[in-house]
Symmetry: D2
Subunit: 407 residues, 4 copies
């Protein structure tokens, strides 16, 4: 059987040159698959045509923006998905969706192989390949950058050799991945951790603090899903887009972090995710009002584990699925409005209202109307601390250092 390689195609130099290269290496032909995930930039039809120009036998473009927002970004909002408490999983949640469409294309077009452009030291190879094998282990996987040590220099030389009809774009110092959920930037000078990022690293956000007037936004959620902004109904995609615009204009959503990659190394990463971070922050604030304390405490652990699982490429795993069930159940009452101010890089939540609120004015107030039975507290405190009291007594009686003196 002839090889047919289904390639995750971005339209850039590397994957363009990969088309003839993969054809040559496998002796087969190449189907290019490009997804519109709201990454902006070039027109998708141009991307599609370029793949054909480079020799692809088929080239398809899929508008997956709403699918991405509804099935990949929304669960991330509900899980307050932040790896290392910071990174909203920008690339991590796009890879499983791209994979899903590549596998579908392979089934439609008789693909025998799937291919991606990732190197061997990043996370994305893991996310692609674990997902490929989860969805269709019969497909062979080719990662030229890793498996053939295929570098940009080799790609350029090969393009010239075969007179590939593409222009080499002006060399950019940045390596970028972006979609509607956010933008990831790597670049050589940031490999020195002491260097600060420069302004040209950013595209989704303005410099904070330029004197814009503060922007007050009310985000409404139903069962953990953003459904309106300032009272106007929105889809999840529209919510992300509008907040990318408004929060981005205020410089909100920049990250500069040192990240623990799954492959065992640390790397420096710059991210911009104005919409994502604003939505997660608002969602957390609403959970603070609508989730019972012990559920909230345990959900924070669950959220952290969910984020690690997704970061580690295990979107299509059994554990992810059970964590999803936990989270879905917890969202039943996460309904209400969060008012926040976007300004100078900051998100300031300053108002919440919810028909599902667990905040009870009559219990919380110190003013007239207080319904809290303070007499219950005395006994509560006594038994709450009893096991600690007994342990400290044991320590003192035994001449041990006690928990109390910390020695």
């Amino acid at each position: 059987m002839n090889a047919r390689v289904v390639l995750a195609y971005s339209g850039g130099l590397d994957t363009s040159v990969a088309i003839p290269y993969l054809a040559k290496m496998t002796g087969g032909d190449v189907v290019a698959v490009s997804l519109d995930l709201g990454q902006g930039g070039e027109d998708m039809e141009s991307v599609r045509q370029r793949a054909l120009d480079c020799g692809a036998v088929e080239s398809i473009v899929i508008d997956a923006k709403d699918e991405f927002a509804d099935e990949y970004c929304l669960p991330t909002i509900q899980a307050n998905g932040m790896y290392m408490k910071q990174y909203p999983l920008v690339s991590a949640i796009s890879r499983p969706l791209i994979t899903k469409h590549l596998v579908q294309a392979a089934q439609e077009f008789g693909g025998t192989h799937v291919s991606h452009g990732c190197t061997g030291k990043g996370n994305d190879q893991v996310r692609f390949e674990v997902s490929f094998r989860a969805l269709d282990p019969s497909l062979d996987i080719i990662a030229p950058a890793r498996d053939y040590a295929w570098t940009r220099d080799k790609a350029i030389a090969f393009a010239e050799e075969i007179k590939l009809p593409i222009e080499q774009s002006a060399s950019s110092p940045f390596s970028i991945d972006q979609n509607v959920w956010g933008r990831a930037v790597e670049t050589g000078y940031l490999e020195d951790l002491w260097n600060a990022p420069t302004k040209d690293a950013y595209a989704y956000t303005e410099e904070p603090g330029l004197g814009n007037a503060p922007d007050e936004v009310v985000i409404s959620f139903e069962k953990g899903k953003p459904v309106a902004i300032d009272g106007k109904q929105v889809t999840v995609l529209q919510a992300i887009e509008e907040l990318n615009r408004r929060a981005g204009a205020q410089g909100v959503g920049r990250l500069d972090m040192v990240e623990d990659r799954l492959v065992g190394i640390k790397s420096r990463e710059i991210y911009e995710a104005p919409g994502a971070i604003t939505l997660i922050r608002a969602h957390e604030a609403l959970e603070d009002v609508t989730l019972e304390r012990e559920l909230a405490r345990y959900k924070r652990l669950t959220d952290a584990r969910w984020s690690e699982e997704v970061y580690d490429g295990l979107w299509y795993s059994p554990l992810k699925r059970s964590l999803d069930a936990f989270i879905a159940e917890s969202q039943e009452h996460v309904t209400g409005d969060i008012r926040l101010v976007l300004h100078a890089g900051q998100i300031i939540v300053n108002g919440r209202r919810s028909p599902q609120s667990l905040y009870d004015f009559s219990l919380a107030t110190y003013d007239t109307g207080d319904a809290f039975d303070q007499t219950a507290a005395k006994g509560f405190v006594q038994l709450h601390g009893l096991s600690t009291q007994i342990a400290n007594k044991r320590d003192r009686d035994g001449g041990f250092p006690t928990s109390a003196n910390g020695q």
Copy 2:
């Protein structure tokens, strides 16, 4: 035996009137104990004298600022202590220290009772009383506000009745607790969650975004302890004080949150903790560089549990002590410098350097000098995902909804 009540004395109206009131209720006398925790405001000698004027048989003032910084704030930095991911435990860590000194005073002055001014619906009663019983369960505890339903109105009436020589301060709408680590504010109008806080709620921080020039700071840590700011050696107390000043001037460190109290209710709280939040943020950024991935992941769970334990009043508990041992061990390599910019309410970390860094340029770089063995990655990815691959195959073969399609 005559009662002798050792009272946690703040110098304010309530605890001042409590002196004669406790004497009357117990038929004994009262020893006033005041701690300087860097709360600022009135001169401590005036506080000490006022207690005597109100009838205390002894009145002592303890300068516990350095003890507080070194033994209570520093562990909080090392645990990245944030309850509900936000609140740096401002009051929660002061109560066990105040308790410790009250118990010492009781032992010195023959106290039979200890007393605090907290109500029955807050967390501080728990922190005081669990700590009292841990340190000396033979002391009886009196909480007049809770146990005698002793209100401010009753206090004022009683003060007039006995002609107590104190002036009633102008009534403030705010109920405040503050120390060098931060400031907590409650007030009636914020009991409506939809109301935003007004400027007069704040004292440790300026309004963000007033056009101050950004302030760049380098904080140096040794084994998780802040030891220098901009190259100048500091004690922990000095670090907090300097950053309170500099971060506060930039509007950094304000919190507006709905909090899950231990007694089972939700409450609205405003906090300011410019130094605390800056130090914890810097410490986290340094941990990102110096802690190995799995240690870092597990430490985040440990930090969260530590914060809940301390919030819940269990500072002197056996679990806290074992969590401390975990955290102490983890800090061995948390040494290095963090550069950050304070501006317009934001803390922006933009540089890290550490002799203990686990970041390895030669493994991370995509440029010349790359030492990462990419050939290892292929097999890694394959086995990393194998159990998920097998599970998905089982699902498909059995006609089950698969983890992969999420249905």
Copy 3:
């Protein structure tokens, strides 16, 4: 409005005398509610009549055996519910069901109060009262043993005083709670932790090792639910009953433990739960075959938290509900047969088969047919350990004690 007390009625001396006592204390009347949870012993009609004889205005008996098995025992099997890794929550899961029926009776018969016979130092008061308030906080709660310091001696004196028509049963040294899921025993001589239990403590189990022939059983599960024993279809109730009989005959299911009560003290408890422990052991063994590794690891944490939540009286809590969702999702594939041998107090699992098995002979075998790609392992091991390798190098280079030498 006149008081009407709905009483959890067991038929024993204490709750019998409580009927006139509660009537007297409240000036109202008493409705007795008794549940058949498979506890055996006395005929339920006699129990019902006795309540009337003691003065109850209504006395109802509810056969809740299947409801208990299906809605309370089955989730415990699926959560491998063992508090402190040992105790299968015998009383802990019965209290929320009894509460539910009491609240229903209160709604039906116009009850204003609910009442239970528990003391103030046990867990059951918590389970009853938290559940009462969750289901209907408008009902007042009376716990005579705790709230009125109502002791057995007082009960007997009162019964004599009012000439209550009940006989005082021969005094037993044991305090017992039992249902089809198990039996709990407390008794004075076991309050010395060094004393071993004597044979007369047990009723559900024979002495182990009496020379019975080993009993081999095959338990079949569908989605985590026991559906057949030795090929014969059973309800959950029947499964428990049959295994109570067969495992009990082999001395399986005895526990002697020191338990951490929620109220802060430790207590010595003897339990017998032959059916429960056999079913949970079989269920765990089937999960070992059918759950993917990371799901299994995380589910163990979830199971432990579920067990603590239920032990602590929080059956009707939001966290319990989200944990249930996680567990329910995980049970999708827990289908298959477990063969085990019951003998001399032991449960020995020695065979498993499952159409949903994740065990893959071709990957596991060392014989002909091995399909495992060993070449993948080398790279896997290298990157799996890379972050540890880098950390140890850092330690050595810095002259630090290394993780490797443990010093």
Copy 4:
């Protein structure tokens, strides 16, 4: 530089033939290192000589029994180290110690390579290689069975070809790893999960239930370390050896499990670990008496994570080290005696006594002398359940399914 391979040498056929094979493949010479970990069987001097006969340039034997017991088994006791709640890490804890001695030998004898006999589908390759790289990443690693697809058949053919002076032992169906802490058995017929193990699989344990008289043992611990058996002082090694003998004679300590390997597959394993399992069971029972409730609950999570970390080959990792610190602190009070009966495969704990006990008779008893303040309980229960009560009210008021009805 000439290659010099330091080989983990067992004395068996495979590693014997590996000596000339490694010399041939590397063009260098081979140093054989054998550890006495209490595995019994052949005299260690014969093992040492055989390596020389097979061509090793050096052959050393290290008596590491006490080191193994004190530094590897003891931490496992203190962590109640059981992977998947069952497997006491028999091979998992020996690999890091063997590695340590191989690295020392490499440094002493100028080794350039280290080598082990593990295949590419097991856990032990991971444990060896992660530890090698942690301790000395400059050493090259050779795993002939995996890297050269070196099988037993090839080994025999090679031995004949070069006329190696070793006899081929009678072929055994079992693949075995054993040391004083336990024994692991794999064999072809158990690769069918429905087959039960046969008697000849076992060597450390007798068949249970043969009518031996029950054996009552008292094990004494100091700070989590076993120090005496039946009142006679023992080293940790002696404790394990004596309990291997006594528990083994009663058939205690057999395991038959399906295990989740780190490389992603499930495997069937038979283990025997009579001493290990008895010691861990006793240690757990003593912790039940001496650890405060919340510490005990959290330690169970920590123990599980510790066990996974060690199982996964990460003995020399930073996380393991911090977990060790937590566990070490928790053992401060784990001092006392546990009495248990070994009989017919069972371990029955029936007595505990400890000068560090947290069990308080006066709080636990229902008899005269009860010191528990029951009046505190009413308020405790009320606030313990308050957040659940509020959440259920919210659900009912909103017409939502409530946590209470589980629908």
